[in-house]
């Protein structure tokens, strides 16, 4: 890691001029992508943007705060259906999306209460129970799930003369960019430092004056807010919702993305999102192999590279920076 000399430097998002160039080039590349890429790549990228939001949220919870959660599908479902019902009442999408996040965040606080007493494996089971309970409530309640036909959502109409697929791409790109910036700022602020302190040693953190109750619940609220937003956006992209989109497999998918991308890293979350989506695209002809690939990757990552894809990327960068010296 780099040497940081002042607090101002700590708050900076990008510390080296060359990094600024590379990040700028990457953003420009993403902005120009629809001009030359075929449509299916644009669509895949759109889905990756949506996923990266929720996975960043989960990384805040799992990677930074160290609270294991398997309830992601529940928050996704709550966010998505809140958004769906509100949009059917004709409420404009920014308010709907915000309410989706807030509703999921509220339930996140509820699901976070066990975290005040429970640790590690026990917390994992409590959140797992929450996720599945939410799924079953939606499956069994036609009022909430919109009945057998599912819940239809009015898709957004393209503006500025863009085609629908390009409009979707830019729309979700901007939202994902916004949330990525928010995540970076949360991490480098006092909130992020409190999260990390809780992860490393919660008792020491409490002694240092971190209010455990407040920050643990805040971590749950923020991560569920992100996941709820992902749910709402996903519903908006698909145009319809049904409870079977939010099974336990969905929780596993997000969790796998966090682990494979790399715990406690924003770049890792985005890489994890890309990995999960790309594997599903590549193996779309043989869907049964998707869990096998996920499983094997998890085994390899945890045994050989506990920092995930981001750790590998970081080591490669370090290697080239110091090349030919080691």
């Amino acid at each position: 890691m780099d040497l940081i000399e002042s607090y101002k430097q700590e708050l900076q998002l990008i510390r080296k001029p060359w990094t600024r160039v590379w990040v700028g080039a990457f953003v420009v590349f993403l902005l120009l992508l629809p001009w030359f890429a075929p449509e299916y790549i644009i669509y895949t990228a759109t889905v990756i943007f949506i996923y990266s939001i929720g996975i960043q949220g989960q990384n805040l919870l799992i990677g930074y705060t160290g609270q294991i959660s398997f309830g992601q599908a529940g928050f996704l479902a709550i966010g998505a259906f809140t958004f769906g019902h509100l949009s059917r009442f004709g409420i404009p999408w920014p308010i709907g999306l915000l309410s989706a996040g807030l509703a999921a965040g509220l339930f996140g606080i509820l699901a976070g209460f066990p975290s005040l007493r429970l640790k590690g494996p026990y917390l994992a089971i409590a959140t797992l129970g929450f996720g599945i309970a939410v799924y079953q409530v939606f499956v069994n309640s036609e009022v909430l799930s919109g009945g057998r036909m599912g819940l239809e959502i009015q898709k957004l109409d393209p503006i500025l003369g863009l085609s629908r697929i390009n409009f979707n791409y830019y729309f979700y790109f901007l939202i994902a960019l916004l949330f990525t910036l928010i995540t970076y700022n949360i991490i480098s602020s006092f909130v992020g430092r409190a999260f990390i302190a809780i992860r490393d040693n919660d008792i020491a953190a409490e002694v240092m004056g971190v209010n455990l109750t407040r920050y643990k619940l805040l971590a749950f609220a923020v991560s569920s807010f992100y996941t709820g937003i992902q749910g709402g956006l996903y519903g908006l992209l698909l145009g319809y919702l049904e409870p079977n989109l939010f099974t336990f497999d969905k929780s596993i998918e997000l969790f796998v993305a966090v682990i494979i991308g790399g715990l406690a890293s924003v770049e890792g979350s985005i890489m994890g999102a890309a990995f999960v989506i790309l594997v599903q695209q590549v193996f779309s002809g043989a869907k049964e192999m998707v869990p096998v690939v996920f499983g094997v990757t998890i085994l390899l990552v945890l045994i050989f590279e506990p920092q995930g894809l981001y750790g590998r990327w970081f080591k490669m960068r370090l290697y080239f920076r110091n090349w030919p010296l080691r």
């Binding site: 294991i68 066990p114 026990y122 599945i132 079953q136």
Partner: protein, 293 residues
């Protein structure tokens, strides 16, 4: 009143299978502090092996024994080839739990690949449709067999853990690993044995669940999660707790399904998990949490 006893009896039959699943989970948690997320998938794989062998016209006893052995060997291979290398590289406890999740995903994919996703009926020597009738309460041969085998297995397991030298070694290993190593107990083999036994109990539960639930690659997901709930209800650290928890959960669920609402019968188990964890995290029979600062 007849209704009530009917619910209790059918609850006991499901509860016996939950107890078997929970016993395996508790055994592994007690000895290696790992939540075994692949338990359900190992069970599914073992049951599919039995199904395939029965397709080759093997005798029931032989096919079931081979399936049980397959599950046990699979779990031991996982312990030796994945968990031990991970522990050598100082994987965290969370990391080891995620490793079992990875194994579960792999097995799930392979079962779908080679077993197919269609729902199949599982041939079984006991029938679900032939019934006994005792004073108005109807019980099928299968349910009676499940209760019988469940209780018998629990008894045998109790004898193994409490009355034999291997059981003593298992208890010592779970009580204090370094001390057990110092006393010359081959802890690694004992732990591998625990994993194998747990998988064996799981596959046994799977074999009795398959004829009632019909066989498909996801048939174990719900019983597995219920087993989790049962283990937590009884206390993850306690083996008798797992049995008691399983039976209580089975009966409570059946009563809730009968008297409250059949649609929310399954949600009930997860509410139980959250409530138990909030009120008494150590479970009914578990010891209290102690934490050193």
């Amino acid at each position: 009143m007849t209704n009530f006893w009917q619910y209790v009896i059918s609850g006991l039959a499901t509860g016996a299978t939950y107890a078997l699943v929970a016993l395996g989970l508790a055994l592994i948690y007690r000895s290696s502090r790992i939540l075994h997320f692949a338990h359900g998938d190992i069970t599914t794989a073992g049951t599919f092996v039995a199904f395939t062998l029965l397709g080759y016209k093997l005798h029931y006893m032989l096919a079931f024994t081979l399936a049980l052995l397959f599950g046990a060997v699979l779990a031991m291979i996982f312990y030796f080839c994945v968990l031990i290398p991970a522990q050598r590289r100082e994987a965290t406890q969370l990391g080891q739990i995620i490793l079992t999740l990875g194994l579960g995903l792999i097995l799930q994919g392979l079962v779908i690949r080679y077993g197919g996703t269609e729902t199949q009926s599982f041939p079984f020597p006991l029938s679900d449709f032939k019934t006994f009738q005792i004073g108005g309460v109807v019980i099928s041969h299968l349910s009676l067999g499940t209760i019988g085998i469940g209780l018998l297995t629990c008894l045998l397991f109790y004898l193994l853990v409490q009355k034999t030298r291997i059981g003593l070694a298992m208890r010592a290993t779970s009580e204090n690993l370094p001390a057990a190593q110092t006393m010359g107990i081959p802890t690694r083999q004992i732990l591998a044995l625990s994993w194998g036994l747990a998988a064996l109990l799981g596959v046994l539960a799977g074999l009795f669940l398959a004829p009632a639930l019909l066989l498909d690659p996801f048939f174990m997901l719900e019983p597995f999660l219920k087993g989790f709930a049962a283990a937590i209800l009884g206390g993850l650290n306690s083996l008798p707790g797992a049995i008691v928890g399983g039976l209580i959960l089975g009966v409570a669920e059946s009563l809730a399904g009968g008297y409250v609402s059949i649609a929310f019968k399954n949600t009930f188990a997860f509410l139980v998990i959250i409530l138990v964890l909030l009120v008494r995290p150590e479970g009914l029979l578990g010891k209290e949490f102690k934490e050193r600062v």
